[in-house]
Symmetry: D3
Subunit: 327 residues, 6 copies
């Protein structure tokens, strides 16, 4: 099923198996690569410009000497989608992964046959891979688990820069996978003890009708997070604020949920096994998700449930226990 | 000159240009790869087992399901050296880079044609690339620059695990490159304000005849560091201790130096431009380096100077300003 | 005078001297007991439901397997008041203490004759005991003393959970009692250096007409605090905000005051002996207290002054220097 | 079986069910009680004076105005043991719990019929209760679980003072009980990220023949810890040091173990599920435990195994999942 | 040119060379002196009362037993200006420096001939000295450099008190002077990693039309900062907020600028060499500065440029590389 | 009595009343002055070279461009003593204060008549002033008071550099002066909660025969501290170590004392009012002080007592409550 897909690599469309990076690349030496992962609704990319805008913030701060503009990247994204679209099942959505690395470290630039300069790579694969098995979470909700692994503070290694130096997210996922029960997703505190984020998602609570989310400091400022705060809540007249919150605030909230690009929003019904509010999926969550579905013309939860029913995760061999859900 | 070298990749020896990692590999997703970089003296690998031992500590803690033993890795290293040895100039030394990644993320394991399971890669290239331009530093010494970028504390992302989630080292190098003058190498404080390490080297001071180095906490515990402490100092009867030190201790030290696998030891003669001791290369440093040279049968500084004189960094196009010197 | 009072203990009303907890109870092993302390105005309990609501937040987070509902607790409170009311002097108010512990540790549950399961205890005694000697503070104000003992951060042991693991409050009281002069009450900074709270009271400043109180993070979120912010200030049209404040903000404020259940509000006229504003009781404080008195039909300060004039603290033997004033 | 035991309460021996504390006691108000828990070998108290010495350090620092001397307490302990000894099974050992609280808060001292002044309580019960079910751990070892709950730093609430303000230990136990698998014991990091202690035990590693344990800072300085360091290791000529250690040090250690009064020593064979050393019980552990058994004339592990075989934990109804093992 | 100026010293007007402080003064023993530095527009002091108000906050907190009122200080300022005015060039502005120290330490008060009690000193010199060479910065903008030297947190040594214990500002200036390129001004992070302030200036960013500046916590709350926030932005209808910001927020801002009394406002066009927004002087900055010029009747930038053109810094021998620009 | 003393000022000996610093000096702008204070025994300077050595460490790190050598300073010290010696009473000792400032800030260097370049000042006055009233402390001991004011960490403003940016020491003295009782001296914790130092003295405990003092990190490394550790303890065969200690260690120590240049050593008999050991002056203290007296030929305590008896502090008008005792 996946045969034939191509990946944009520095201006060329190459077979997916050829989308590889030299071991001498700074990305593989330092985790020195910025990236974005997007999704489509009805095959139309969603918030692509916002993703690319964030990508360029990282490029600028990391001083990657890229000679492409945001518009160039955007065109390359569309080119990649077009090249692959016919290979996707009719009910698929396009998930793009955009990677930009600095390229070869200086000392290896004398090696013949290796690409010089930054690498720009755009892969395109079915969104269903990423969300496999998540359909039921729209009903049951997630159990957020506060891990001993904490988020990194921005002054040391800024999570607002979406780089590949992020093994601590993986360590948090491993830790959460050790907890009894299902549907455990890691929730990281920052070094100040505030709720930060999940390992591929932003966290929200609802209290007395107000949507509250951690300040955009020791977290990735997710595109979905911004959409919920800046568009859905505005559209629905729901007040929304950024605020430092801690575990107590979550335990005593009325609702909680997570946002992430592939699944948009998922309810969080327990924290460390203790019910949040009634322990059921909340009304504000449902209202927001319904509006999001309406806005995009896709019933978001139903689409994922349908994928699970059809082939689900087994189609690709199943996720490892440490599967990561990027935003 | 570099044509023809081969790289060990999962049991195969492949051309260097083919030593690449899929964009779906956990290494490129999370910086989820442990690695080692070694050197030879007179073409004989030095402390190879110690490097492999540290590699396996990382594999164990990161829970990479590797089915090779340390002995397997060692054999593969020697196999790689043998395959390339004839291609090396007569005065070259072998620098090995050993990379172990977890392999494809779970959701991509259904893609045909991609290697399943962990990746083990061993590259072999001339050591002179890494040390290009360093010859004169044995005489002038380094200016250590304390950067605003600080080391990560072990409890957040342990620098004792030699992983690829390390873009902060690169950021520190960039920051140090902005300082006026030559020979600026970054020196990182840890979040407690103690001297931690350079971005590819361990730091030492000498005070009243005692060699002092930071406790092995928020640093990589370098193989060269261990050799200086556990073998050279013992051999020479020089007392050596681990201790928390800060900038004041460096400013008021008699000598300072850094250790790292490719260059072994380099003197640090100034801190933020202020002379340490006399501001000259110190006697203890010279004694240690001489002993190291005697032990290995290679005049370490002279060898690097000779390479610089012969072709130096220009042979490979020159290092970027952000060149990284791994241990 | 105190003879005859009864205490609700697990469904029974027992004499006050029998209101005791087994030494094998988790409360006495870990400080593992949540509690509330209330007061009446004109013998009517004030904000009882808010207190019980907070109690249940603690029960939930500490996972105490209690089989009573908030309504059950409320009924038990009223039952306890009724049983004791006739024994109270005509000018007394009812102060309730509600304690809920997890009960015996598991290893002691085989001992015959000990109550199994959580303990619920409700005591009822004259409010005048708690506020003995405070009458004059309404005129002179408190000298807030910043102690070296700091508040605990929520991520380590959350002060928002009103548990009995709180010996640090007592240590702060002891420390404040060592300072020269009268009317010294401890004011704790949190580990970030922000003003947190007193040892049984919340802290407020008034600046340019706005009432300001620390964010509800490393403090108990007092019921009186909520009443001032959410009801009195709203009723009076006084702007009120939560904000991180530090000693400088207090020194340069126009007024300051503390809130706590037994005394409602007390002015703070000096910080570490330095006058705040004019050093006199402030106008905003007086306005708020007057409104509170109007709302409840009790002249709050006058009532306490009258108690002091009548029998005062001597009636019960006098407070220790380390008397604690719970909210 | 437990019928008839008596407890020393302020000079009187009272039935165990009468060993209770007034709800107005500072112990139940603030966790303001210091305590010790001991054990016997062959019915002889072990290190009783060391326990009492530590008890008095807490009394002094907390300023509890006790009028008993250490010798008085020691006599009372022996008196309590004698009163109960005939009730113990022939293979039992005496576990004493010594509690000292400040007594009634000042405002309650006017209540008739309540004990005035500090409370001194000494209970005596079979050690087998505490160690029920631990017998097999001598073979399998413990899985230490690093919890998100961290130890408190000494500057905020000193764990070296053995007080009852310790609900965070209970929270850590609850957290560890949620992890998959058996034999999970909580291991707390301190706020600096160093290994601190378990919730009722001290932690040790063995590396290259040296026994290493965290510095005595953010931990209780256990009596068993002192015995291992100051007597057993000296007797056996095993080097022992205090040192800051972190998770990496444990993962790369040769062995690990915990010490605590009731069980003396237990092996720790995995950390967060990853094998330490070979993952088997270590040789240094075995040597130390054997020596301890020899010194006391009791085969420590065998005794506990025998208890488990005889009646085990079921005799007392079984521990809760949150059972706490005090030192 | 400077001959003849007089300085107010404890009620006397003395020649500038006689404006000196005893080596036994607390100011020279502890940095125990509070101060203010002002400027005039068209020879009229600007915000003099605000400066004096802040001065008295410091006097109060440091408990300097001064017997002058704010009005007394204000009169003394005017007296000093009048005494010197005729000596100033026609295009000069008056820069006042007001110093208040505690006076002689107690042990030196027996020395005859030394002033007893606090010292009050008011110097008056041409503003052009301070701003020499800054004219071109209005066009090029400043490169803000984040130094490894961090701001002090308020709980340790409060930067909101404008005292002379501030050598860390000087150290930061020295550090910034080592960076390559021109126009480098130090920008300090606080210990939490938030942007704090420059060494003599407050920092602002502009994002999406809103002016944002760090919370007034670990910074001096500048008079110019208050003027921008409380008057200029209000006058112009530009929204302005205080908020914790970090380097990422600056890198991704649309504009940035600094404020300080002598130069009012200067644009910051790069951070660590990376362009902020377009890297040009921003529109909001220009609007604010224009309004400030209009309000005061002085073209602020032009005035400084004119001074630079006329005699510039050379007139006074030139600033050291570590010149400090007080607010 | 003090008439006639002269002070060394930049090569000149001037009357004490003329020893003054321009208000434009960096010392008065930034606390940018390093200093030393010494004492004599029998009119012979003690450890003068050690003081000067430390002075030059500060000069080097602060980059003060001084053109005098340590030998120059030493000569100037002796010259100053000689010039004043005849004016001293026969039982006086010489206390020197050596101040080195950077000199005028750059912008003021155009002012005629002001000294250009660094200022070097050496004052010489009777030691008895500094130690007035301390005689009885050798018998009663000091009550060390842990203040809420904490020591600054070396990474922010290094206390090992003896500069004049030290108003926090004064604030701590003020705070300690507010505590009830006599003989209260401030004892500062560092931000990690470890015991650091007094405001003019180093702190020691004695435990089981070993002398223990905080690591030389967030403290001034006193000359007297070094003498006790490196000479007296060695001479007497008393083991001495540097170690992180906290309040618990002090409470449970056998003895405690402070060291400082003017008084050499003083016993600390209580901490926050709680007796340390027996609460009496300890044997190790007495042994050390006796040896010090023997080594110098002066009975240290007796000399100070004699001064107190003769004229004491009244001779110079008495210390303020905030008197500072420099080392």
């Amino acid at each position: 099923m996946t045969r034939g897909r191509v990946v944009y690599v520095n201006g060329q469309l190459v077979p997916e198996t050829e989308a590889r990076i030299s071991i001498y690349d700074s990305a593989l030496m330092f985790g020195d690569m910025v990236f974005e992962m997007t999704r489509s609704f009805n095959r139309q990319q969603f918030k692509l410009r916002e993703h690319i805008h964030r990508l360029f913030a990282g490029i600028q701060i990391l001083r990657i000497p890229l000679d492409m503009t945001p518009e160039d990247i955007e065109r390359a994204c569309h080119q990649t989608v077009e090249a692959n679209d016919a290979l996707f099942a009719s009910d698929d959505e396009h998930r793009l992964m955009i990677d930009v690395s600095r390229g070869l470290l200086g000392i290896y630039q004398g090696i013949d046959g290796l690409h010089k300069g930054p690498n720009v790579i755009i892969a395109d694969f079915p969104l269903r891979w990423t969300v496999a098995g998540m359909g039921s979470l729209f009903d049951t909700g997630i159990n957020a688990v506060i891990t001993s692994q904490r988020a990194l503070p921005a002054s040391l290694l800024d999570p607002k820069i979406k780089s590949r130096s992020r093994i601590h997210y993986l360590m948090a996922n491993i830790e959460a996978s050790h907890v009894q029960g299902d549907n455990n997703w890691a929730l990281l505190l920052d070094p100040d003890g505030f709720i930060a984020e999940g390992t591929g998602d932003n966290f929200f609570i609802v209290k007395d009708g107000t949507v509250i989310t951690p300040e955009g400091r020791n977290i990735l400022r997710g595109v979905s997070r911004a959409y919920v705060m800046g568009e859905l809540c505005v559209q629905l007249g729901i007040p929304v604020i950024e605020k430092n919150i801690d575990a107590y605030d979550v335990y005593t909230a009325d609702e909680a949920f997570m946002t992430g690009t592939p699944f948009c929003m998922l309810p969080v019904t327990t924290l460390n096994g203790v019910a949040i509010g009634t322990g059921e999926v909340g009304a504000v969550f449902t209202t927001l998700l319904t509006q999001w579905s309406d806005n995009t013309g896709i019933d978001i939860g139903a689409q994922i449930l349908a994928w699970d029913a059809a082939d689900g995760r087994s189609a690709i061999g199943g996720p490892t226990p440490y599967q990561f859900i990027p935003r």
